[in-house]
Amino acid sequence: MQFAKATTTGALAAALLLAAGTADGQVQTRNNGSAARLVRDGMGREVRVPLRPQRIVSLSPSVTETLFAIGAGDLLVGRTDYCNYPPEALRKPSVGGIVNPSLERIVSLQPDLVIASADANRIDTERALRRLRIPAYALFANTLEEVLDSIRQAGDLTGRNEQAAVVIEMLQQRMRRIERAVEGKRRPRVLFVLWQQPLISVGRSSFAGDLLERAGAASITDAIPEPWPRLSLEEVVRADPEFLIAPQGQGMQVTPGQFARPGWRQTTAARKGQIVIVEEDALRPSPRVFDALETIFRALYPEEANRLFRKTSTPGERAATEPAP
């Protein structure tokens, strides 16, 4: 009797599984007739992408921003809950979180291309999309130069190569002139406080580390290879940073008394009130990071910054001293 029960259960289960396993995912039409091509994404994986994608889902705020920056925002049909810039992005439907987006929502939006960010999204998400035969392309940028390259890739994917080139040119100019301005100058000692308790900073190999380097800072964590090292307060006191840089945004708020605490208040930075607040959202690997670059540069090199920004006043530029909305 038990065996009869077992075999019936087994047969039912097998039937269900077969149904599940052989379900045809190809019924989804994402091909609007145009051909596809094979490219390598930011992680070196081969992806078959449409020549002219019409419906793109972004799985990361940095991707969303990049797409809008190159004028591909109209191709966007889906974004994550955290894609809050530019404001137009909020009008697009959301597919969920960055780590846990809803595959169902993505599928129901019928995208012909999904663009993810390799350092924000899970590889499992990309794998699942691939299994559903939805092209998933991952952008990856760990330095400012790589951000420029991912803008180029985005332009290439969406057919907005020219617009992308314009954006890249402008951003490159901004980056180079800061480079020139800090060349040969003494770099102030800086500590980037990613998180205060426990004290976590950024190492040389992190994205923020590259940002600091380009802004002309001498991060006191320069010798540390890990991307997010934990420091002790003693090390901070010993290294005595002249500037403290802290991100602010939804995830973290900087309070006035934060650096008045023992240990912190001994630092040159705290004594001189040299605390630089950077918009958290501007630390994404997207065009806005160049605003953060300028913010930091201005704080570290006020005279050079005055000279530099008085000279140029191109309308297309954004000089961001206030946090973006």
């Binding site: 599984l17 019924v27 169902e104 350092d119």
Partner: protein, 342 residues
């Protein structure tokens, strides 16, 4: 032979027959089908009632969502729910402790560690993962057994302590290993460790489904033995149980069920505690009914919990383990306190 039972009781009370088991399980199976239908209906992409029952044709997207996303997930939830509930019931009998549960005892952590190791060494998503998870579960179970066994029996508290120590130790190793993972893998880990059915593996479901079903059937075959094990190993042996065989088989099966479940769904907690307890209240503690009914209840519960996880804050998804832990942890404390006077 005649006797006169007291007027208010029937003489067959307490007698469990195959018929009663089949009837109860039949009803539960219907409930499970209902839960499954509801789960297929609800989702972050909207309700598919009309497609399922209204008879209207499905758009291609709806077909993909139903068949490739929801259906496998629902099946997986059923399997994992049944597997973990059964594993919990097995450990409770083997270790003579109603608080035994693969999660509490650290056996899920052992399975998780096995899976993570294959992620690191073999790039994950291969068939090696469930195998390694099985191995991890077996090893953890062995450690807990060895630590908790005192003078021929399992002292209740020392067993739980052994389990918690094992779980903590393994979790520490997992945290240590996770620092070597790159950023994006790490993000998923926290979710998966809590128990997450949202992303299923690169290998076909049957790789875990068939062994789970086989494990359930084998365990069920030993239901009478599990009943007797509750009396203690000595008494069970005296009543005719082949201890070596039963213990080995049940250990291996419970570890298999745990390992396979964890390898695809992460460490969903407390199901092995919640479900047998609930099932005992409803169906009594005879394993011949408790096992199949418990398995079906576990399936229903996990399907329901997973549906909630998918829809509560849609389109974002919660890890299903969050729900089971929220329900299970208080239950654990309650059961623990009830036992203290004894």
């Amino acid at each position: 032979m005649t006797f006169s039972p007291p007027a208010r009781t029937r003489n067959t009370e307490g007698r469990l027959t195959l018929g009663r088991v089949c009837l109860t399980c039949g009803l539960l199976a219907v409930a499970l089908a209902g839960a499954g239908a509801l789960a297929l209906h609800f989702g972050s992409a909207g309700e598919l009632w009309r497609v399922l029952f209204g008879g209207s044709p499905a758009t291609p997207q709806e077909r993909v969502i139903l068949l490739e996303l929801r259906l496998p997930r629902v099946i997986l939830a059923m399997l994992v729910g049944a597997a973990l509930a059964t594993a919990g019931a097995c450990f409770q009998s083997l270790l003579r402790n109603p608080l035994a549960d693969p999660y509490v005892l650290g056996i899920s952590s052992g399975a998780a560690l096995g899976t993570i190791l294959t992620l690191l060494l073999a790039g994950g998503d291969t068939v090696a993962a469930p195998l390694a998870a099985f191995g991890g579960a077996l090893a953890a179970a062995g450690v807990v057994y060895a630590l908790g066994y005192r003078r021929g029996q399992f002292s209740g508290y020392s067993l739980l302590l052994a389990g918690m120590v094992t779980a903590s130790f393994l979790s520490a190793i997992i945290v240590f290993l996770s620092t070597t993972l790159s950023g994006s893998d790490l993000r998923g880990l926290a979710f998966w460790l809590m128990g997450d059915l949202s992303l299923f593996p690169g290998f076909p479901l049957s790789v875990v489904a068939l062994p789970i079903l086989a494990g359930l059937v084998v365990v069920y075959r030993f239901a009478p033995d599990l009943n007797l094990l509750l009396l203690g190993e000595d008494e069970a042996a005296r009543l005719g149980v082949n201890l070596k065989l039963v213990k080995t088989v049940i250990y291996v099966c419970a570890a298999l069920l745990t390992g396979l479940s964890v390898s695809v769904a992460g460490a969903v907690g407390f199901l092995g505690l919640l479900v047998p307890h609930l099932a005992r209240q409803l169906f009594g503690s005879d394993y011949r009914l408790l096992l199949p009914a418990g398995a079906l209840c576990g399936a229903i519960l996990l399907v329901a919990a997973d549906t909630l996880a998918r829809t509560a804050i849609a389109p974002a998804e919660l890890p299903v383990g969050a729900f089971t832990a929220m329900a299970g942890a208080p239950l654990f404390v309650y059961l623990l306190r009830r036992r203290t006077p004894s």
